[in-house]
């Protein structure tokens, strides 16, 4: 059974409180029991406790699958990029190095790349992913688009990201301020800016926003 198309994943990094509940919940997921496929990245650990949850963004053109020499990484018909197929994966680490978001995890003991598959065993039967079901601040939200638009009037979801010259469109949404004309999130430029909390918000995804024409 595929993941229903109207159910979407939304990440709001500014809501993340760094509680690691999602990491603990992730280890309980039956598709990769005992290993967490989500991680919390610190933005600028020296000056801010702000963290960002990193889950698979399920790109429309998955870089991990593009670089896989063994044809092991597949995307199911509902757009979810799955863990590498065990009979095919040669544990070469290409996907781990290539993914711009840093999502795939190499499990050397099993010689298998495993990654966030949006808790396929749960979402494919209509349940929420583990992380979204436990997130106390709902930085990770899984549900309908109307729902989140109604409950978060100051944000809106976007699905475009830029890493250098690579522009990526994803299935997973990231929340950005609603009233700014943001076309995409330029992640690599944001890395070179100071995000110390003075002039910038301490969120790299928001700090490096590529502003479109006619900024309000």
């Amino acid at each position: 059974m595929p993941v229903p198309a109207q159910m979407e994943f939304f990440i709001d990094p500014s809501r993340c409180i760094g509680c690691q509940a999602c990491v603990q919940a992730c280890t309980e997921c039956d598709t990769h029991k005992g290993a967490a496929m989500i991680q919390l990245d610190y933005i600028d650990r020296g000056s801010s406790p702000q963290t960002v949850p990193v889950v698979c963004m399920h790109c429309d053109s998955p870089t991990c699958a593009e670089v896989c020499p063994a044809d092991a990484i597949k995307r199911s018909g509902d757009g979810v990029v799955q863990t590498a197929r065990k009979p095919r994966c040669i544990a070469c680490n290409n996907c781990v190095l290539a993914c711009p978001f840093g999502v795939p995890k190499m499990h050397t003991q099993m010689n298998l790349m495993m990654k966030c598959d949006m808790c396929y065993d749960r979402t494919s039967v209509g349940q929420k992913p583990m992380c979204a079901s436990v997130c106390p601040s709902q930085a990770l939200f899984y549900g309908r688009r109307e729902e989140i638009e109604r409950s978060r009037p100051r944000s809106r979801p976007i699905t475009r990201f830029q890493f250098g010259s690579q522009v990526i469109t994803t299935k997973v949404n990231v929340m950005v301020p609603r009233h700014q004309l943001i076309d995409l999130v330029d992640v690599t430029s944001a890395q070179h800016e100071r995000a110390a909390g003075q002039e910038m918000q301490d969120d790299p995804l928001l700090a490096g926003m590529h502003l479109g024409e006619g900024v309000a």
Binding site: A5, P62, E66, D71
Partner: protein
């Protein structure tokens, strides 16, 4: 977002349409529905090639059999004089090669039988027991019928190979070996 069957969901990095993509993208699609899809034509081609391989194999086996058949004419060899073996007595001999142990049993004045001495289960030597009318294998309690060499009890499933015998002028000759599958 509803899609037709066979429609690509994944967009190639250069963003150009599917028709302009290199051939290997069709052969190694990222979407699992396309990856698992087998065209009817490919399936039939595969079936025909496999059947062809099996057919060729059968002909090859036939050819090998035809080549091998005339080569196996075993030598005629004298084993013992009839008078040397008492009725109910037995004799172990090698035929045709020195390592091929055979056991000969004289059932009565006229009849003699000879079989391979190796049990067809795990090759333990069988012991003739003419009073019980059987060849007995002590390893796993296997028994063979003394008159025919067929298994009658225990684990062996195949009959003992039988040595063809001929008696000429009071001398017993071995003339060949019958391998039997059942």
């Amino acid at each position: 977002m509803s899609r037709q069957d066979g429609e690509q969901l994944t967009v190639p990095p250069d963003g150009r349409p599917e028709a302009e993509q290199p051939r290997w993208r069709q052969d190694f699609p990222i979407d699992s529905p396309q990856d698992e899809y087998v065209a009817r034509r490919d399936f039939v081609k595969f079936m025909v090639l496999i059947s062809l391989a099996f057919t060729t194999g059968q002909f090859w086996v036939l050819l090998r059999n035809a080549q091998r058949a005339p080569a196996e004419a075993l030598p005629l060899r004298a084993i013992a004089r009839v008078d040397d073996i008492a009725v109910g007595g037995a004799l172990v001999f090698a035929y045709p090669e020195p390592g091929d142990a055979r056991v000969l049993v004289r059932l009565d004045a006229q009849t003699m039988v000879a079989y391979a001495q190796h049990c067809t289960h795990l090759s333990c030597p069988v012991i003739p027991q003419p009073e019980a009318g059987r060849l007995y294998c002590p390893c796993h309690e296997g028994s063979f019928d003394l008159a025919t060499g067929r298994p009658i009890a225990g684990p062996p499933q195949r009959a003992l190979p039988r040595v063809r015998l001929q008696v000429r002028d009071g001398v017993i000759y071995a003339t060949g070996v019958e391998e039997r599958s059942a």
